[in-house]
Symmetry: C2
Amino acid sequence: MNAATSPLLTDLYQLSMLQAYRDQGMDGIAVFEFFVRKLPAGRNFLVAAGLEQVLDFLENLRFSADELFWLADCGRFRRDFVDELAALRFAGEVDAMPEGTPFFADEPILRVVATLPQAQLVETRIINLLQFQTLVASKAARCVLAAPGKLLVDFGLRRAHGAEAGLLSARASYLAGFGGTSNVLAGKRWEVPLFGTMAHSFIEAHDDEMAAFAHFAHSHPRANTMLIDTYDTEAAAAQLVPLAARLAQEGIAIQAVRIDSGDLGAHARRVRAILDGGGLGSVDIFASGNLDEFRLRDLVAAGAPIDGFGVGTRMNTSADQPYLDCAYKLQEYAGRPRRKRSEGKATWPGRKQVYRSVDAAARFVADLLTTADDAQPGEALLQPMMRAGRRLAPSPQLTQVRDYAAAQLARLPPALRSLDAAPAYPIAVSARLRELAQAVDRQQRQAS
Amino acid sequence: MNAATSPLLTDLYQLSMLQAYRDQGMDGIAVFEFFVRKLPAGRNFLVAAGLEQVLDFLENLRFSADELFWLADCGRFRRDFVDELAALRFAGEVDAMPEGTPFFADEPILRVVATLPQAQLVETRIINLLQFQTLVASKAARCVLAAPGKLLVDFGLRRAHGAEAGLLSARASYLAGFGGTSNVLAGKRWEVPLFGTMAHSFIEAHDDEMAAFAHFAHSHPRANTMLIDTYDTEAAAAQLVPLAARLAQEGIAIQAVRIDSGDLGAHARRVRAILDGGGLGSVDIFASGNLDEFRLRDLVAAGAPIDGFGVGTRMNTSADQPYLDCAYKLQEYAGRPRRKRSEGKATWPGRKQVYRSVDAAARFVADLLTTADDAQPGEALLQPMMRAGRRLAPSPQLTQVRDYAAAQLARLPPALRSLDAAPAYPIAVSARLRELAQAVDRQQRQAS
């Protein structure tokens, strides 16, 4: 059983509601939209990600015989309902912002139009996939903006929240501009470039640090990064100089060193001087250890001679903001716009579109949130992705998504590209959408 | 391809090191231990969890033909090395603290003894599994301690970091004392009790709120919780009274209501009065929305008439502390203890054991960290779990683990059971272990 594809990876209430919808014949067309209610503190924008996995999930949605048997047997559902689930497929429509698009609060990044049971059932997994990859892509984009021109590598698999988090954070960070990952499976699945060095255990398993380096170089003559902080960082760098000379006689070049502890900038400066003094100017310095966008910014600002960074835990758990205040909300059912009015959680009703206006340099200026049928100037950000349960076009390669994301980030207003909190990006709500919300409220008051 | 079981869900450097170990014939016995360096701020203890998934992973470790083909083809490894990976199995030993055991900084909760390649390869996934479930079990235990006697239900799947995080957080929170989860797959896989209510979309898809409640009750006459905050919480509660009377004539009882927004305590008090006044004293009140251990404590302290809580995002992302400063470190290779001395990351060498002394009431008093061969009074916390790559005994049922965890939490010193930061639990390091560390340092200085 693969948790990632099981339709039982959902909240119980989805299935309970489906049985009730069935009993009432409520299989009209429903419109749900996914959006973030509020940007996390300190985030000037978010980067849409996860759509690819959502489309995969929807195209392959079905209950297995084993799952149906369990549902029929669990005592919560009637047999006639479970029997009907066997035929359930997602046959609806999806419009969405392409992955890599920056977006802001209250802007839908995905719209599902399908029969109410189909659109309802998929809520849990759609949120699960979109919020996590968006969270990581947004955090990774900040790292990229903080360290322009530096190689950033995802090192976070071990402290990611489980297997899929490790896998998808490698994807999301690469999409947002990282250069690659240490995660082998992400390399296999999406051709994310792979990077790796060695662990302290490799050094410690040897009785001699230089013997460990020599062994590794012999096994990996064309791809080796020596971890030099196990005992004494500068002493190891100094000893690397004669080792490199011996290896050179065998035609083996040491590619890089990695520093993983202490004051990374200070160590890097000393190590750079040692290496340069020993004729190893071509050996790169790679640093890792508790990095995030703020530490990257500080190291870059201080001119630390570090060529690349392994960024792990804080990036792929989005440690300072490990979740988004997001929702997948019913906006229309059976042709009538709907609206939730719970305290502090009111939503804009109906099918919506986001129009983004740009200046002469194609830089983003402002967004307009309006109804989907209200054509406006600017770029319409929600685009048709799926009809009748099938993708309209093959998905772009991940490198294409990455190029698109980079181009999009370059079009953000400069203040928003800073790590510091900027004035909010201007988002207008159209008169038409406001009128629709009022009309829905009036209708609801009459009904209740 | 199931990410959760693939041996390629690892860091590239593990495979790079394995090729180098092979080239040097380094297949001696290695000892690695997993421990947390430092408790997160505000945590007085952690709860060990994730061992069951680690044992599963180790018992089933093997490379598929497809994975071997990819490795041979990726240009990073030699064919002779990849060919040997086909036969790689985990044939080593595991000693560990049983799941549900409270533990503290520097205490190993798992020890792996295996050939160096076997013990090295599994590092990434072992950390990935242990840190996440331990993180969630520890956060969930705080929620349980903050709301004694209340039903707590995991509602966090949608904002968990991916599929496995959702699944494993349902397991870890149940283990730590939650009453169940909304996650259907967790119910199927581990028989975690399932709970569910209805979504706002269910109400909004109907033109009338009371019609929605009636429909749901008819579809689920024996398990229904009505979500009453979509429009006006108290108005909905008031309208439930006559609806309940009508349903009672059909033999249907409303079980509970759920409040998901606003001031949960204030709403609950007003709703309780309305329901009681209408003869619905047996209808439970369930609350959800941005809950964590602190809000639970406040609601309980204020005497809010809430019978159960849905606790989601903040619990299963461990939002205030979304990762642990943990490591899986080489402690011995080929019979010689090893030690990392990197700045701020020095470790205790060798195979270790933790002895826990207790008072007359069996309450935990203090721990002693010493070498594994240094028998001491008290409970030895690391127990044999696996030999020659096979479990020594069938794993306990999850309900047994849950009972054990509850008994363990009850034995913690009262100050540690508080949500407030308490003085650190006393942990002594034995003279024998200190001497071993000094001996390893002397040895290392002579070698370098």
